[in-house]
């Protein structure tokens, strides 16, 4: 659905996006993660034919970038970081205006469909300025979908929303996937990306990593098993160190963290060895690295480098 090859954008001497090559499949939710200034918004602006790439090429929804940009724009939906509504116009008039610009055939019907779907029908005559942040964001999402685009770019869809509205928007994005739309999601909310995205690209001008969140966690951190021990001997790690599948061990707050290649295979022998060495195992779990851990490992600037070991989150 989206294919880019060496997509590059410079602003004068500043390199915003460096040779981005990526393929995004139909029906996929694809996350673009990166710090401010990483080039995420520039990337989606290029893919939505809003700005031109300096070099490289891309195909979006069957349209080659730079060849037929108006047709490309008619096939994609674009949610900007701020909702950007005409405050003096009603919710209905806001949508009707964009529906006409997108050449929607049945403007009143389509506007009604989305207003009802998003629970805004009863407030359709109210000026956009009177709507809450969540409602404004819903309205902006509806605007991006009025023309039934096959590709939707969402730039920070839940930023500045309260938890309830964020949840509603996330559920809504999940619903779009079920409709078979391809979604490119730019977000700083790593938990949201972890929950929603089939694959994520960690990005800082150039691509740092690209895979499903679970695969990235595994690739970067391996799988870590946590053994909760009662009054462990400080040298207990030496018991499991010699095992061939063990990559590393660490004792933190009475918990022995063992990074393994294949926990299902190695756990029984490790447990046996620990028990034989006199350890009292209270329970065993797997340490769940978050996408945030992956992100900081790739991007750098981890605010809490030992955080994972000191406060392990088990799944």
């Amino acid at each position: 659905m989206i294919e880019t090859r060496d997509l590059t954008r410079r602003f004068g001497d500043v390199l915003a996006v460096d040779r981005l090559t990526v393929t995004i499949e139909r029906g996929e939710i694809f996350g673009l993660l990166g710090p401010n200034g990483a080039g995420k918004t520039t990337t989606i602006r290029m893919l939505a034919a809003l700005i031109e790439p300096t070099s490289g090429e891309a195909t979006v929804a069957g349209c080659r970038l730079g060849r037929d940009d108006p047709r490309l724009r008619s096939k994609v939906g674009f949610l900007t970081e701020t909702p950007g509504l005409y405050d003096r116009l009603s919710a209905e008039a806001n949508l009707a205006y964009f529906a006409e610009l997108y050449d929607v055939e049945d403007v009143p019907g389509q506007v009604e469909h989305y207003l009802r779907w998003l629970g805004l029908w009863d407030r359709r005559h109210e000026p956009a300025s009177s709507l809450s942040k969540g409602m404004r964001q819903k309205l902006a999402i509806a605007r991006a979908l009025l023309h039934e685009p096959s590709v939707v770019f969402l730039d920070e869809p839940t930023s500045s929303l309260d938890p309830e509205a964020s949840r509603m928007v996330r559920e809504f994005i999940g619903g779009l996937r079920r409709e078979g739309r391809t979604i490119v999601l730019c977000t700083h909310n790593l938990d949201e990306a972890d929950r929603l995205c089939d694959r994520v690209a960690v990005f800082r001008q150039r691509l740092l990593a690209l895979d499903a969140p679970a695969n990235l966690r595994r690739q970067l951190f391996g799988r870590t098993v946590v053994f909760h021990l009662k009054d462990p001997d400080p040298s207990i790690g030496r018991v499991v160190d010699p095992f061939p599948g063990v990559a590393s061990t660490q004792l933190v707050d009475g918990r022995l963290l063992v990074t393994l290649e294949d926990p299902e295979r190695d756990n029984p022998s490790l447990i046996r060895a620990l028990v034989d060495a006199g350890a009292e195992i209270q329970f065993v779990g797997e340490l769940r690295q978050t996408l945030e851990d992956v992100y900081f490992r790739l991007v750098g600037g981890d605010p809490n480098p030992a955080g994972s070991a000191e406060a392990p989150k088990e799944g």
């Binding site: 674009f78 509504l85 116009l89």
Partner: protein
């Protein structure tokens, strides 16, 4: 063309809900139309228009009057001061509408979603410009119509005939729209550099300065408003429009708007 109309309709439905814009579009023309008519009524009460004409009118204006009686020439002199006012209307109204319309989109951050639609930047520029120009031109013409009727009722038939001569028609129907276009183009340029509609409006109004100079020049007797001068104004406006529109188009590009308009 359909999208241009869609844009125009939206501009009107939004911009006319702004009281400041509404004030400029309604009150300014009303004042500029009522004022000359009030003066004509006042002059009728004064009676001694011949003396007024002889004392206050620039000598050269008698050439413009041609075979008008001295009293009618005096009336015509006073009335013609307002011809230039009717040329200020098509400048002031679109400068206000365009400033609020374009800077307003920047302030409410609606430009990016708008640019993400299949609408071309030319359609967008034409739609916004036409939405600003059309009310200005129509209001000016309507005010001129009211003014003509008033002059016909309040002044002599000779003066009434004089304000429908080619000079006036050229000024109202050709120079007015050309000045409108110049004001809108300047508003587009200024809008690219400011986030405050009032700043854009005020800077755009600077286009009025040459016209104000002509008004003052005529009152002072330095400039004589005749067909030749109006023709020069038309040609000057046309030449300015070509340059201003070209520059406005170069600024009003998707990429420029998104990356350089701050």
């Amino acid at each position: 063309m359909r999208k241009v109309w869609v844009i125009m309709r939206k501009e009107w439905s939004e911009v006319f809900r702004n009281r400041l814009v509404l004030f400029t579009v309604v009150l300014l023309p009303a004042i500029l139309t009522a004022l000359p008519l009030a003066i004509l009524i006042g002059m009728g009460d004064m009676g001694d228009i011949d003396a007024l004409a002889a004392s206050d009118m620039p000598e050269a204006f008698f050439q413009v009057c041609g075979d008008l009686a001295p009293g009618d020439c005096g009336t015509y002199f006073l009335v013609s001061q307002f011809l230039l006012m009717f040329m200020i209307l098509p400048l002031a109204i679109p400068a206000t509408i365009a400033s609020y319309s374009i800077v307003g989109e920047k302030v409410t951050r609606t430009l990016e979603p708008l640019l993400a639609t299949p609408v071309s930047t030319l359609e967008l520029l034409v739609g916004k410009s036409a939405a600003a120009m059309a009310p200005a031109i129509l209001v000016t013409w309507a005010c001129f119509g009211v003014f003509m009727i008033g002059v016909r009722l309040l002044a002599s038939p000779a003066v009434a005939a004089k304000i429908t001569d080619p000079m006036w028609l050229l000024a109202i129907f050709i120079v007015g729209p050309l000045l409108s276009l110049a004001a809108v183009s300047v508003a587009v340029m200024v809008s690219s550099r400011t986030s405050e509609p009032r700043v854009a409006e005020q800077v755009s109004m600077l286009v009025m300065l040459p016209l104000m100079a002509v008004v003052i020049g005529q009152v002072a007797g330095v400039v004589l408003l005749n067909t030749e001068l109006v023709l020069y104004l038309a040609l000057g406006s046309l030449a300015a429009d070509v340059g201003l529109v070209a520059f406005a188009i170069s600024l009003f590009q998707r990429e420029t708007i998104l990356t350089r308009w701050k």
